[in-house]
């Protein structure tokens, strides 16, 4: 049985899918941004190579967009995406196994460089890890009430209702605190890495 948060998530995703079906690519962009990191973890585990995992993920989203009309909403949109990603990864592995394997030490080094480039590093000096470290630093600098609200939401996955109970404050305050926490982090990152996140 799905929780109220899952139900709302399904409704919001369905709203985005409906818009994307009508040709609204911006709606589909929001879905990509929402699920790309979660799916990258899945595809990386399946193909054991983050560069290939990105290729698989790209194919996954392209196939998903072209098959949107077949999504009937019987399962969550992420579940549907997940299954496409798994099948695409299997296809990728099957095609890789047919190719002759000639891997040298130089190739491995080149693959790592490609990965760094693919991950959309803010610039040549700052890689993805540096960006993540900066985000975590910004979160550490947050006032205690903001950090607490954001942590309960992001790490514990609590709903605003439950956070309001846990923090003994109105739900509107929870919403405001989480928003202000994100604003602070975004401002910090924008200052350190201009034009980084998007």
């Amino acid at each position: 049985m799905e929780s109220p948060v899952q139900k709302v998530e399904a409704e919001n995703d369905q709203l985005l899918v409906d818009r994307a079906r009508l040709g609204d690519r911006h709606a589909f962009d929001l879905l990509i941004l929402k699920y790309q990191s979660r799916l990258l973890a899945v595809t990386t585990r399946l193909v054991s190579n983050q560069s290939d995992a990105l290729d698989v993920l790209q194919d996954t989203f392209v196939k998903a967009f072209r098959s949107l009309n077949t999504f009937r909403g019987e399962s969550a949109f992420y579940t549907w995406l997940y299954r496409i990603a798994v099948n695409t990864a299997k296809n990728h592995l099957a095609s890789k196994s047919k190719e002759p394997t000639k891997v040298s030490a130089d190739d491995i080094g080149a693959a790592d460089l490609t990965l760094l480039h693919d991950l959309g590093a803010p610039d040549e000096e700052a890689g993805a890890e540096e960006l993540q470290r900066a985000i975590l630093d910004a979160i550490e600098q947050l006032p205690q009430d903001l950090k607490h609200a954001l942590t309960l939401r992001e790490l514990e996955g609590l709903s605003y209702d439950n956070i309001a109970v846990a923090m003994n404050c109105p739900i509107g305050t929870v919403r405001s605190r989480i928003f202000r926490a994100r604003e602070h982090v975004v401002q910090e990152i924008s200052y350190k890495f201009p034009g980084t996140l998007l």
């Binding site: 690519r25 911006h26 985000i135």
Partner: protein, 221 residues
């Protein structure tokens, strides 16, 4: 982007926005690129806190480039070579030659339909009862009111050419008032009747009553 909009986006990222807020954001996302950027930032913060890799807009750009560049879908084939159907059925790529042939055939069909419609339309709109024989039978009469012609007499070898000169001039028929009315009555009535018939066919309205009045034997006084 207003603070209210950003707060709504933050709530939407947590699945806590109202449906009204969600629809408002989606409408605004079409025109405001920075809204997508803020959404991406919220997702990046979430990913970082969960220990996932932050991708930024790299993958988004790649997917959009592929969707913009390639229009035909390829079937999803899984590792054992069978079509994969989780829920997804991907349309197979169309044969480009047959697609082009179908395109040309479709265009020809449209052109033929338009030509047929034009021919039929012209037949309906064109007056059916033109009565060409009646029109041709009556020579056009020119009514001219001329100044009195001064007879010129040219003498060539002692022979008067006045008769020839008169024969070469256009014949002007001077009609009396009664004659003019009779002529107008005779010619105007068939025109009006024809006009009334055509109008009735084309527009459903007609001036037939007027034509009947004009068609009487008695000329209009």
């Amino acid at each position: 982007m207003t603070e209210t909009m950003r707060q709504s986006l933050s709530a939407l990222a947590d699945e806590e926005a109202t449906e009204f807020e969600a629809r408002k954001i989606l409408d605004a996302a079409k025109t405001r690129g920075e809204l997508k950027g803020y959404w991406g930032s919220c997702q990046a913060i979430s990913s970082t806190m969960r220990g996932e890799v932050v991708l930024g807009s790299t993958l988004l750009d790649r997917v959009n480039a592929e969707l913009d560049g390639v229009t035909e879908a390829k079937p999803i084939v899984d590792h054992c070579g069978e079509m994969t159907q989780p829920h997804a059925i991907v349309l197979p790529a169309k044969d480009p030659v047959s697609s082009r042939f179908g395109h040309i055939t479709g265009q020809l069909a449209i052109v033929a339909s338009i030509a047929f419609a034009v021919v039929i339309g012209v037949k309906i709109v064109t007056p059916v009862d033109i009565q060409p024989s009646a029109v041709a039978a009556e020579p056009l009469e020119v009514i001219k009111f001329q100044m009195p012609v001064q007879r010129e007499t040219v003498s060539v070898d002692g022979v008067s050419s006045s008769a020839n000169a008169v024969a070469r001039r256009p014949i002007a028929r001077i009609l009396t008032e009664q004659g003019v009315k009779q002529l107008v009555s005779n010619r105007l009535s068939p025109y009006l009747i024809r006009h009334a018939e055509n109008t009735a066919v084309v527009s459903g309205k007609s001036v037939l009553p007027l034509a009947r009045i004009m068609g009487r034997d008695e000329p209009i006084q």
